[in-house]
C-alpha cells in the first residue's frame, strides 16, 4: 500500500494486521475446540446489527453467500410453493443479477426493477411489480459503486404485506451507516469480510431465527473457527468506526468533491441519502476507463465497476456519454488529507491532458 492512493474500498480493503495476526493464532490454537464457539460468535454478530437471534453461515466470499441464498431459496421455497419471482433493483451487483439469471434456466423468473433518478428503488415501483408469485426481494442496502442507500424501511413494509422474503447485503454499509435492524425481520443479511479488512474474502450470512439456508455441501466440514473470529473482529471493528465515517471521512469526501467540482467535474447522487465515503464524478469528454488507466499508472486506484457504473447511471437517466465518463472513488478511515490533495492534483493534471482527445470531435 505504501505508495498507492487507494480509493477503491468497496472492491477490496487493505488487510488489518490485527485481524491477520489474530487469524494466524486462532488457526494454530483453536483447531480442536473452536467448533463450540462458533454459535456464540453468530449471536455476537447478530446483536451487533440489532438482531435478536440469528444463525451465522460463512462462505468463501460475499458473492458465494449471495448465490447460496438464491439457490437455497429456489430449493426450499420456489420449488415448494411455485412462487417463482425473485425481485431485485436493475442496478444491483452482478453476484446477485447473474445468480438470478443462472436460476432462470430452471423455473425462476427474475424481475429487475427500475430505479429513479437518484438510483433508488421506490416503494411505488415495488408495489406495482409485486405479484402473488413474488417470493424474494434481494438488494444491497447501499450500492458499493454509487453509495446510494435504498429506502429499506419502505421496501420492507411492502414485502411484509405480501409475505416476500428479503435478502439485504450490507457489505458497503457496515461501519458507515447505523444499522437499526432489530425488528425489521430481515430474512437474510450478508456482508463480505474482504471489504472489512479481513485478509481474504469471507462471505457471512445471518439467517433470521427460524429461517433456513441450504448448505453448499454436506461434508460436515465448515470454515475454521479462525474465520468466524476474524469476521466477528472485522464487523465489530467496522461498527466502532461509524462516528469516524460520519464525521471525518464525510469531511474528506466533501472536501474532495469540492475540489473535483472546482476543476469541472460533474458529481452524482449528492441529493440522496448515501454513504459518507463514496463519490461518483465525471469529467467532460474523458472516458472513465481511460482516466482510471492513467490514474493507475500514476499510483491512484479507483474504479468504474468494469463498466457497471455507466449502466447504473444510464438506468438513472444520465446521458450515455456522461455515464461512461464516470468513475467511483471510495475513501476509508485510512484516507488522509494529503492523499486527497495528491489525488485532486493528479486528476486535475489528467483532465487537462486527456480532454483534448474528444474536445473537437465535431470540428469541420
Amino acid at each position: 500500500m505504501a505508495d498507492w492512493i487507494f480509493l477503491d474500498h468497496h472492491t477490496k480493503s487493505p488487510p488489518s494486521r490485527k485481524i491477520t495476526e489474530q487469524m494466524g493464532k486462532d488457526l494454530q490454537n483453536q483447531w480442536i475446540f473452536g467448533e463450540e464457539k462458533k454459535e456464540k460468535i453468530g449471536q455476537e454478530i447478530a446483536s451487533l446489527f440489532g438482531m435478536d437471534k440469528g444463525q451465522l453461515h460463512l462462505a468463501s466470499s460475499g458473492a458465494e453467500s449471495h448465490f447460496q441464498i438464491l439457490l437455497s431459496h429456489y430449493i426450499d421455497t420456489i420449488r415448494e410453493t411455485g412462487r417463482t419471482h425473485i425481485l431485485t433493483p436493475e442496478t444491483e451487483m452482478e453476484s446477485i443479477t447473474k445468480g438470478i439469471h443462472r436460476l432462470e434456466k430452471f423455473e425462476v423468473q427474475g424481475k429487475k426493477l427500475p430505479v429513479n433518478a437518484n438510483g433508488q428503488l421506490t416503494r411505488r415501483v415495488l408495489e406495482e411489480t409485486v405479484r402473488p408469485r413474488s417470493s424474494l426481494l434481494t438488494l444491497s442496502w447501499a450500492h458499493p459503486l454509487t453509495g446510494v442507500v435504498q429506502p429499506i424501511h419502505d421496501l420492507l413494509e411492502v414485502c411484509r404485506e405480501h409475505d416476500i422474503r428479503v435478502h439485504l447485503d450490507i457489505s458497503a454499509a457496515v461501519g458507515k451507516l447505523y444499522l437499526p435492524l432489530g425488528g425489521l425481520e430481515i430474512d437474510y443479511l450478508t456482508f463480505d469480510g474482504g471489504l472489512l479488512h479481513c485478509p481474504m474474502p469471507i462471505g457471512a450470512t445471518l439467517v433470521k431465527e427460524g429461517g433456513k439456508l441450504a448448505p453448499l455441501s454436506y461434508s460436515g466440514v465448515s470454515q475454521p473457527y479462525a474465520t468466524f473470529s476474524a469476521i466477528a473482529s472485522a464487523a465489530t471493528s467496522a461498527q466502532e468506526k461509524i462516528d469516524t465515517y460520519a464525521m471525518e471521512v464525510a469531511r474528506l469526501r466533501d472536501l474532495f468533491e469540492q475540489k473535483l467540482a472546482d476543476m469541472g467535474g460533474t458529481l452524482y447522487f449528492q441529493e440522496v441519502e448515501r454513504l459518507p465515503n463514496t463519490i461518483v464524478v465525471s469529467f467532460p469528454n474523458i472516458h472513465g476507463e481511460h482516466l482510471l488507466f492513467h490514474l493507475k499508472r500514476r499510483g491512484l486506484l479507483a474504479t468504474n465497476g468494469k463498466g457497471k457504473l455507466a449502466k447504473i447511471l444510464q438506468q438513472s437517466g444520465v446521458d450515455p456519454i456522461q455515464a461512461h465518463a464516470a468513475i467511483s472513488l471510495t475513501l476509508s478511515d485510512l484516507t488522509t488529507d494529503e492523499e486527497i490533495d495528491k489525488a485532486a492534483e493528479l486528476i486535475q493534471e489528467l483532465t487537462l491532458k486527456l480532454q483534448p482527445l474528444y474536445a473537437h470531435a465535431d470540428s469541420k
Binding site: 472516458h287 481511460h290 499508472r297 463498466g307 450515455p320 456519454i321 474536445a359 470531435a361 470540428s363 469541420k364
Partner: protein
C-alpha cells in the same frame, strides 16, 4: 484494464495523432478534408477521424483522430492513423480488422469490437473521396532487410507438403493482409524442396510489381521467417499478359 504489451501502453500514454483538421486548414494546404465517425454513445465508444486527402491522387497526406472510449480504443485509433498515411483512400477502405490487429500487436479479447468502430469511421471518411482519380500504386509488404533471420526448426527434414503448410501460414499472416490492400491476393501453389511457387489473384495479376517489388518483398519475408535459401517464383500462367 490490462494492456497486452508495452507498445500499446506507450500509444495510450502518448498518442501522437490526437487532434483534428478544419476545412480552412485543408483548403490552405490544397487538400480535401475527409471526416468520418464511428461507434455509438450508448456503448461509450466514439471516434472521429480527420484525413487530409490529396485531390491529385487520392493519397491521405495526414490523419488525426478524436476519441471518447477506453484506453485500448485510443491505441487502435493511433495505429490506424499511422497505417492510413501515404495510402490512397481505396487502400484505406480495404484495411481489414486482421491487418489492424496485426499492426496493434495483439489486443485483449474485449478490444475486438474497436476494430469495427474504426472501420466504420474509415468508411465514412473515405466515402466522400470516391470522385478523386486514383494513381496506379501498390503497397508492398514490409521490408524485412536487417533484423534476425529465423530458420524453421527441422526445415530440411520436412516433406514438401509440410513445407507448403508452413509457408502458407506465413503468407497468410504476414503477406496476404498487405496484398489485399490493393485488392490482390496471393497463395502458395507448391513447394519443391526450397523452390516456392506462388499464385497471384485479383489486382495482382495485372500489376507490374507482381514480378518486381512485391515478389522481392515476399521472397525476403519468407527467407527471413522460414529458411534463408528459399527461392520464390510466381505462376506466370495466372498473370495478365497485358
Amino acid at each position: 484494464m490490462q494492456t497486452a504489451n508495452k507498445g500499446l501502453t506507450t500509444q495510450i500514454e502518448n498518442p501522437r495523432s490526437v487532434g483534428y483538421f478544419t476545412a480552412g486548414e485543408a483548403e490552405k494546404k490544397g487538400m480535401r478534408l475527409a471526416v468520418g465517425k464511428g461507434g455509438a454513445k450508448e456503448h461509450g465508444h466514439l471516434v472521429t477521424l480527420f484525413f487530409l486527402v490529396d485531390e491529385e491522387d487520392g493519397v491521405i497526406a495526414d490523419a488525426k483522430f478524436q476519441v471518447f472510449g477506453p484506453p485500448l480504443l485510443v491505441a487502435v485509433c493511433e495505429v490506424v492513423c499511422g497505417l492510413v498515411v501515404r495510402k490512397n483512400y481505396l487502400q484505406t477502405r480495404r484495411l481489414s480488422a486482421d491487418l489492424i490487429e496485426k499492426e496493434v500487436g495483439g489486443l485483449p479479447a474485449e478490444g475486438a469490437v474497436f476494430f469495427n468502430v474504426l472501420l466504420e469511421a474509415m468508411d465514412e471518411a473515405t466515402e466522400g473521396c470516391m470522385d478523386i482519380p486514383i494513381e496506379d500504386v501498390y503497397v508492398a509488404p514490409p521490408d524485412m532487410e536487417g533484423g534476425d533471420r529465423q530458420v524453421y526448426p527441422g526445415w530440411e527434414e520436412l516433406s514438401d507438403a509440410q513445407k507448403k503448410e508452413v509457408i502458407s501460414q506465413v503468407v497468410a499472416a504476414d503477406i496476404a493482409p498487405y496484398v489485399e490492400l490493393d485488392a490482390g491476393g496471393v497463395e502458395v501453389v507448391k513447394v519443391e524442396e526450397n523452390r516456392v511457387t506462388i499464385a497471384y489473384s485479383g489486382n495482382c495479376t495485372s500489376c507490374f510489381s507482381a514480378t518486381g517489388a512485391t515478389l522481392d518483398s515476399i521472397g525476403n519475408i519468407l527467407r527471413h521467417k522460414v529458411y534463408p535459401d528459399l527461392m520464390v517464383t510466381p505462376d506466370m500462367s495466372l498473370l495478365s499478359q497485358a
